[in-house]
């Protein structure tokens, strides 16, 4: 790859007098199309890709072996004990669901907020959302103990005339995660239709033409279609926005509706959502930084994009820190001895090491992003992303395990230790995640070409022409509308 002046590209300078250039390197519609679709259609698959997917598929295999072993022997193969009935299984579930929040935040919320920079990274983040939710879905499925009746989670008519309990937050989870998965998939696919058509029109082999052609649903780039398509996209964004709030809120309800000290607190829903966005952006960044380099996409995913992501990480990290502090303050203020003990126990009890790992990675290090130097340095930011990933896993571990291991009755306290099966299942889930990511970057357009084209200055069809004056205020008294000043 030729990329002579990549290092010189810097669009992170703040200049309030003019809009930021989002696409660099003198690209036009043709070059954007070529750069993105050639990765899928033209370029020879690099050997590194084969090596990587072998490794990740191997890890995935380990996970499935562990799950098979779990099915044969039961949940006793994990380190669970009494009172710690939930540990790595649910920690991993919440961790992965959380990561799955960045995609919809970028594609839906940033869309509604007119953040044009999202177009370079939304496809990638949405794909990651779906893969993360797939990883997440595995854990509650396998943790139920009697996996052969896992269909009881769904309201299916059965010969025992039983229905699930809709007043249980665990069932809300089934609906929330199921809806989220489905809607994210619809949203991802909707966004991809025009790009699949591009691939169809550029593909040379018959198989590729047929497959991308089938997936593109006969999209003809018609403006009569674009009109409804854009409306559908807007409506899906409007639906996905409250949905993304609801999913991690419902996950937080799993804990917050209980009476367990450290779990039952009203701020959990928004605090979980902020944490989810925080961890999701970190994971997007973790993959994006190497991907843009390997595939030479520095002109499309610019430093400005990464800096914006870092700002969101700083903001959500600060919200998470604020929530930690509020919890601590109210645990003291509220005066419930169990509640205040739960928090002191987190910070100074047997899981203090996990707690301080969490605080360091989630609250302390992200604050370095206040410095512009740090938030525009690729190496440093990548290390920070790793920290956030670690910190957010520990957050869920701390919440779940520290509260359960020391609840109301000191005689039943117990310390939880993971078994190798716990560890290998979790590590294996990364294998699944990265396998899916690798397949995605090999076979699907990883940048939303059509959307990127809309934010390029050359896409503006009427530069110079503007909206008509006062087009809305037909109901302002006419002497004011036309004359400008009264009397």
């Amino acid at each position: 790859m030729m990329k002579p002046q990549v290092e010189a590209w810097d669009n992170t300078k703040d200049d309030p007098t003019k809009p930021v250039e989002l696409i660099l390197g003198g690209n036009d519609f043709t070059s954007i199309t070529e750069k993105v679709s050639d990765i899928v259609l033209e370029r020879k698959t690099p050997r590194a890709w084969y090596i990587a997917i072998t490794a990740t598929a191997g890890l995935t295999g380990i996970m499935f072996l562990m799950i098979a072993y779990l099915f044969m022997r039961g949940v006793g193969v994990w380190g669970l004990n009494n009172p710690v009935g939930w540990a790595w299984d649910i920690t991993n579930f919440v961790f992965w669901v959380g990561i799955g929040h960045a995609g919809t935040l970028i594609s839906a919320i940033l869309f509604l907020l007119r953040q044009k920079w999202r177009t370079s990274i939304n496809r990638f983040a949405e794909a990651m959302t779906i893969f993360a939710v797939i990883c997440a879905g595995i854990f509650p499925g396998i943790h139920v103990g009697r996996v052969w009746v896992v269909y009881w989670l769904f309201p299916l008519p059965n010969n025992q005339a039983m229905w699930p309990n809709f007043r249980s937050p665990l069932l809300w989870d089934v609906f929330a995660v199921g809806t989220y998965m489905t809607v994210s998939l619809l949203f991802w696919y909707t966004g991809m239709i025009p790009d699949l058509a591009t691939l169809r029109d550029r593909a040379k082999g018959r198989v590729k033409q047929a497959v991308y052609g089938a997936l593109a649903l006969g999209w003809r780039s018609s403006h009569r279609h674009w009109h409804r398509y854009e409306k559908a996209y807007l409506l899906l964004a409007g639906l996905a926005t409250p949905l993304v709030l609801s999913v991690h809120s419902v996950v937080s309800f799993d804990f917050a509706t209980s009476q367990i000290p450290g779990w039952h607190t009203a701020i959990f829903p928004p605090y979980f959502v902020a944490g989810a966005v925080f961890s999701g952006f970190a994971m997007v960044g973790t993959i994006l930084i190497p991907a843009r380099k390997w595939f030479g996409l520095e002109a499309i995913i610019t430093k400005h994009h990464l800096e914006n992501m870092n700002k969101i990480i700083l903001a959500t990290g600060s919200i998470v820190g604020f929530a930690y502090a509020t919890e601590f303050f109210i645990a003291w203020y509220g005066g419930n001895p169990n509640e205040s003990f739960a928090f002191i126990n987190r910070a100074f009890g047997p899981y203090a090491w996990a707690y301080w790992t969490m605080v360091t990675c989630n609250v302390v290090t992200p604050q370095l992003f206040w410095s512009k130097k740090i938030r525009t340095n690729l190496t440093v930011m990548w290390i920070m992303y790793i920290f956030v990933n670690i910190g957010m896993w520990f957050e869920r571990f701390v919440i779940i395990v520290s509260s359960l291991s020391r609840d109301f009755l000191p005689s039943s306290w117990a310390y939880y230790r993971p078994t190798p099966v716990d560890i290998m299942t979790f590590v294996g889930s990364f294998g699944l995640f990265f396998t899916l990511v690798l397949l995605f970057i090999r076979f699907l357009p990883m940048i939303a070409m059509a959307e990127v084209k809309t934010v390029m200055p050359i896409a503006d069809a009427h530069s110079g022409e503007r909206r008509s004056v006062g087009d809305y205020h037909g109901d302002i008294p006419s002497h004011i509308r036309d004359g400008g000043s009264p009397k």
């Binding site: 703040d14 907020l113 607190t265 604020f322 503007r466």
Partner: protein, 402 residues
Amino acid sequence: MAHTHVPTLQDTRTTLDGLGPRVFGTSLAIGVVGMLAAFGLGSAQGDNLKQFAFAYVLNFAFFLGVSLGALIFIGIMYVTRASWNVVIRRLAEVMAAVTPLLALLAIPVILLAGRVYGWMDPAIAHSHAMAHKVGYLNQGAFTLRWAIYFIVWSGYSLFYWRSSVAQDKTGDLKITRRFENLSGFALMATAICTALASFDLVMSIDPLWSSTMFGVYYFSGSFVSFFAVLTLVTMGLQNSGRLTRIVSAEHFHDYGKLMFGFTFFWGYIAYSQYMLYWYANIPEETAWYLMRSTHGWGKVGLATLFCTFALPFCGLVSRWAKRNRKVMAFWAMWIIVAQWLNLYWVIMPEYSEHAMFSPAAVALFLGIGGLWFAGVTRLAMGNSLVPTRDPRLDESLRFENA
């Protein structure tokens, strides 16, 4: 297509001029009369001004919320480098910069604390449940905290307003850059103070009840009220021939989206807090909601649910509604009343176990509201109503919703 020209500031009037003193005088008069009437009504109750004190806290919390909403709005606009808002940002600046006046209006809250706050009641203050926090909840610490809150809020809001006005003359880009660099810290400090202030001002009326969500609950409601007030102020100015043309349907559409979005957010927060306490059913937590769902207060709460959430949600969901001036004006007024009613439902049950109507609260809405608005008008006089030399003004004038 009639897309021909970008509106400029020359197309309209951007100063209050003669209108300023008239509005200032009228609001001041309403404020003073409202205050005196409320005081009279309160004294007539013969309850040692107890109802007056509760009503005062209620209305103080409402208008403080509007100003804090404005301050947080400005901060968010700078950190996100937003441009659409520039043409109306001066209005938010003066609404925020009135915080020193609110500091004066906070003095009665401190003086009347004994009639409102449970922790001033010796029987509660010496109880076992309060033992660990008497050092935090007492009149001295309460006063000190309010002093700190107001130093932070006034510091930031005056800084925004003064520098922005200065930029009108100099057009100095450094000012915009400084705003952008400092707004992150300003937001953090404002958010922390707002959360703690909501604990002090409203939550600690019942010192034995607490919720980690309360700060977010108060903020989300206040933010909706702020957008409603901003909408009505902008419309009022346009009806007087000011800011016409330059503030267009596009800007109102955004007001509508923000009102709609934060109405939904408020509903989400209110539901989460309520549902979690209802579900876990822990006595010391549900007591607070029990008090607000019995003896007639339940009906007020239900009305709150519909008026504050369900109806404006349905009313503002469509694009048509957000771009229709009359519909927007209706919902803005509705939301102000509904959010006020919600605060009434949160605060007044502590005064009276049975649902009641407090004329003093209405009089104080006019009293504090009148003084607040007089302060806002006074700040808006003499300067442009638009940050004339903001580097993003042109973008704001050209702004179009996609």
